[in-house]
Amino acid sequence: MAATTLTRPASHVRAGARGPLGLVPTGVLVLGAVYTLFPVSWVLVAATKSKAELFSTPTFAPGTGLLSNLSDLFAYRDGVFWLWLLNTALYAGGGAVLSTAVSCVSGYALATYRFPGRNLIFNLLIGGILVPAVVLAIPQYLLFSKAGLAGTYWSVLLPNVLHPYSIYLARIYAQAAIPGSLLEAGRLDGAGELRLFRRVALPMLTPGLVTIFLFQFVAIWNNFLLPFIMLGDDHRFPLTVGLYTLLAAGANQPSLYNLIITGTMLSLIPLIALFLTMQRYWRTDLSSGSVKS
């Protein structure tokens, strides 16, 4: 009895003392969220404004022009916007699938086998993390032109497949997720190396691979420099380059602003949807070996 009366007020005081402190972190984070949501919410509202409303109504007052903006955008150059959207999905989806596959087999080999040259190969591949894209983009363009492939889908897809940081992540994840004893037991049972990889390792690696896929998907989706350099024909553009050319063409014509704003708004939706639905896979650290919800 004495003990409870002694501890009660103490814990009460402590909670009371820490209560107001909780206001500071919450307040700071809410301010941060207001800052990050501000331009996104603006573009969502601005896309609903008609040409006249865009310049006359208050910034965050919804307008009446969403449908006409959308039909204008889809009519622009015979619906090239749809093509940009499809191209982006192809570049990001195809590139990320290939990249994840390559990272997976490389990371698995580096994590589970001991072989001559292992460290050399690892260091070479990892050194790529520090190579700035700028030294690669121009010669990649020249080499692709020599092969007659500049301006094709391949010229944007292929350079994105090797992603050193993903290989690093895959290796860390494989090290943490696959117990060496399990592979050893499989070998004793007479399973081949390929079978071990497919039946034992791959299922254990899958959660980490989803994370690698997502990060690579976003990186390619957001990429501007490579397609900007590689592509000339706007039928092969991804959204980023398409929106840029839309702006370059329409910056001096305020009548085109609605088109650009609506295009920007639409370009945000697929990734934000992916982002919100795949939340538990957005992790920057794969060393714990499992993806927690």
Binding site: L29, A33, V105, P132, L136, L162, F224, L271
Partner: protein
Amino acid sequence: MARPTTGARAGHAGAVPYLFLAPAMALFTLFMALPIGYTVYLSLRRTKVSGLGLGKGARKEIFTGLDNYVNALGDGELWAGWLRVLGYGALVLAFMLGLALLFALMLDASRVRLARFTRISIFLPYAVPGVAATLMWGFLYLPTLSPFGGLPFLGADVVTFSMANVAVWGGTGFNMLVLYTNLRAVPRDYYEAARIDGAGELQIALRIKVPMLTPAIILTTVFSVIATVQVFTEPTTLRPLTNTISSTWSPLMKVYRDAFVTGDLYSAAATSVVIAAISLVLSFGFLRVVKSRAFGEG
């Protein structure tokens, strides 16, 4: 004791690991080693025009040694670009990493509300392409559309800040998540022990959490430096909206212009090697300074 087992295993596996690594090595050779080698090769050459430059044999590619590098180092426009990027980079690094650290510490504080909502909101710009982010802010900067009245966001004195704001907006969330993930890995007992000793939340944050985060802060700084030195998307996208950004605003924009507008691949190659060298020197230099500070080496 482990040696014989691993030896046997390596013998057992034979060529298998090399087969697994073959795709990555092929891609590395084609899309990394070859382009790097080719850039260095191009940077040592130039076109020689003989006579009037007409006819088949009039234009030849010749070796010129380090001439392109000497030109790049003596190029006033390029230096001006470096200065602009230095100012821009200092702003971006300070604000982006400062805010990322602040938000990570606040998320990890003991009594925080709305943590999930605010964490997702602050990370959200990661899913927004740099072009789209620049377009949104660019329109919000325009005097005719800005909700902040007639502030000259795109004026010559302010445009660097406006551009830095776009990068800070886009990059804070990812860095926050990296730091926050590292904070979550710190055993909670550390804080309990400090609390028993009478430390407040602020002291715990400054005396325990920040020192524990040092390696992660170094890593995010190095990656941010590499990204900032090559800034291209933000100034290129903002350029159509203002006449205060030149076509050679950043060194990488100059490389692009040299290579694809002026058609001088050789100086573009030399400049891009210089950019790569500077970003490597900066990141390794930073690592060294930090190491000697933190561990008393060097």
